[in-house]
Symmetry: C2
Subunit: 365 residues, 2 copies
Amino acid sequence: MQTYSFFMPTKIIHGEKELLTQAQQLTRFGGKCLLVTGKNSARVSGALDDAIKALKSQGIKYEHFDRVESNPSLANVAAGGEVARQYEPDFILAIGGGSPLDAAKAIATLATNQISPEELYSNEFAHTPLPIIAIPTTAGTGSEVTPYSILTIPAAETKRSFSVPELFPKIAFLDRRYTERLPVSITRDTAVDALSHLVEGYLSRRAIGTSDIFAERGIRLWAQCITALREGEFSPEDRDRLLVASTLGGITISHTGTTFVHSLGYSLTYYHDIPHGRANGMLMGEYLRYTQEYAPQRVSNVLSWLGLADISEFAAIVKELSGSVVELTDQEIKAYAAKAMGSRNVGYSQGEVTEAVLQKVLRNS
Amino acid sequence: MQTYSFFMPTKIIHGEKELLTQAQQLTRFGGKCLLVTGKNSARVSGALDDAIKALKSQGIKYEHFDRVESNPSLANVAAGGEVARQYEPDFILAIGGGSPLDAAKAIATLATNQISPEELYSNEFAHTPLPIIAIPTTAGTGSEVTPYSILTIPAAETKRSFSVPELFPKIAFLDRRYTERLPVSITRDTAVDALSHLVEGYLSRRAIGTSDIFAERGIRLWAQCITALREGEFSPEDRDRLLVASTLGGITISHTGTTFVHSLGYSLTYYHDIPHGRANGMLMGEYLRYTQEYAPQRVSNVLSWLGLADISEFAAIVKELSGSVVELTDQEIKAYAAKAMGSRNVGYSQGEVTEAVLQKVLRNS
C-alpha cells in the first residue's frame, strides 16, 4: 500500500479573469501590498494591469518592486527585502515566471526577519514570512504551489533552494491568458521544465500515492500538447493544459522534491547560461535510461501516458523542444558531477547515484 | 478543458503510529488541548491511548469531553462548547467517526464565539474557530479533510451542515490500526458512505478536474476492497485502502459537495434510525440509474473503475453491503422528497431534479 500523506495549503483559483472577479479575496491579507515582478513579463502578459485593477478595486495601496532578475541572486532579493522593510506591506503579490515567484518568497521572508540573505538557508525564521499571492506568467516552474525558493549563490557558483511551509503562496491564480504572449522558445523551455517536475517526481524515491495522482494527471495533460509544442502553435486549450500541467508538477515536487536532473541542470544554467527548463531537458533522456534499470514499470508508465513508444522517442522529442546542445569538456563534466553530488536531490533518485553515474549522464546527454 | 481549482489545507499524515512519532507537530498549536470524543470508539480503537501518550510526551495539558452522541444534536455540541469556553484550550483533538469529528468543528466554533448553536448556520463568525486535529476511527466520513459539520436539528427534524474554510482540520492522522476493531457492520456502512462521497462527487454538476483526480483514485482503491467487504474479513491493507478511499472521498466532496442521495438519506437516518452510510447505500442504485441519462460516460467510468458490469451489479453489491431494507409509506415518500427539495445539495445533481424524481428514487429503492 502506498502512502497518501499530503500537504499543499495554497488555494488554487483556475480560470479566466478570476483575479478581477475574485479581487475581494485579496482584502483578507490587508490593505497594503508589495508587487514583486521582473522588468517585462508581468507587463507584457497583461497580468500586471489586472493586478493593479484588482488592488485598486479593493482600495488596497501598493508599491512595485520590478527589479527581479532572471535567476535572482542573493543580492537581488536582499534589495527587494530592503524595499519591503521600508514599505511594510501586509502581503506580497508576485507576478512572473519562476524568478519573480521565487524571489518573492525570499523577499517575504526578509521583510519580517532582519537577517542576511545567506541566512535564508537556515530554513528557520523567528517571524512568519509575509503572505504571498502568486500569479504565474509561464507554465513551467510550479512555484505558485511550492514552498521552495531557488536562488543563485554567486559565491558557491550554483543555485540552491530554501523553504519553510509558510512559503506556500496563500492563493495561486491560474489564468492561461497571461501565458499567451510567451514566445515559442520560452513556452517550450518552461514546458520541458514542467515535464521534468512531473517525471522526476513520479520517478523519485520519495514518490507516494498522493504525488502519483498529480504526476499522472499532469503528464497526461502535457501529452495532449506535444503536437502544439513541436509545431509552436498554441490554442487557448493548449495554453490552459500546459499551465495546469505545470501547477500539477509543482504539487508533485512539493511532496517529492526533484532528482539529480535538477542538481546537474543548475551547473548548465550557471556556467553556460542555458535556461533552466532546457538544461533539464538535455539530461532527461539519459535520466530515464538510468532510472529504467531500477524502476522499469514507472518509466514504462511515463512513456505510456505520454503516448510514446520508448525512451529514444522521448529523448528525441525533449531534445527537439530543448533546442541547443552544449559541448562540455571532460573537466567540466567532472566538476559538475562533483558539485551535484553535494545536493540533497541526488539522493531522491532511484538506485545508487555515484559521481561516475552523473558523469556518464552528462557525457551521453 | 476542465477546471483545476483546489483548496484543501489540511496536512494529511498517513501511516502507522505517526501520532506518536510526530507528536511534536501538536506543540505548534499550544499547550492546552480539549479532547473531543464519543463514549466508546476513541477508547476501543486505541486512538485515545495514543493521543494521551502524544499529548503527555509534549507536556500538553488536556481535558476530555467524551459526551458526543451519534448524530450529534445542536444541544449536544452546545454542551461541548460550554466545556470549551470554561477550559479555554488552544486547540481541539477530535477522535472518532463522523459524529465526534463534526461535533468538534461546532465546539471549536462555539469555543471562540458567544453564539447560540442555531447561529452556527450563519456560516460567518467574528472569531476564528480553534484549530482542530482530527483522527478518524472509521473509514467513511472523510470529515478529517472537509470544513463541513453536519448536525441534527430536532426542531427541523433533519440534519444540516455548516462550514467555514477555517474548519478544515489543521492535521489529519490516518492510521488504519484505529479502524481494525470496527465491527463488520460498521465497516460496511461507513465504506458505503465513503463510496457515496466518491461517486456523488464524481457525478456532481460541480465536479472539476481536481476533484475527479481524487474521486477516481478513491473509487479504484475502494474497488480493491469489494471482496473483503462482502466476506467481512479485512487484511491490514484492506483497512488502509478503505481509510484512504474515505479521505479521498472527503477531499472530493470538499470541492463538489454531495447530491440528492445525501439530502434524502438524512430523512432515513432521522426518522428510521438507519445509519448514514446505509441510508445512502439504499439510494445509490437508483441514483446511478437516474444520473445515467444525463452523464452516461461518467456513470460508465464509475462502473469500470469498480470492475462492475452494469448498474444492476452495482445496486446488488451496495444493497448486499447495506443490509436491511425499510418499507416506506406513500406519505413518508412524499414528505421526505419534499423535505429534500429544500436542501442545496439537490441542485448539485445532474439534470432537473423534481419532487417526482425524488419520490421515484425512494419508491424504487
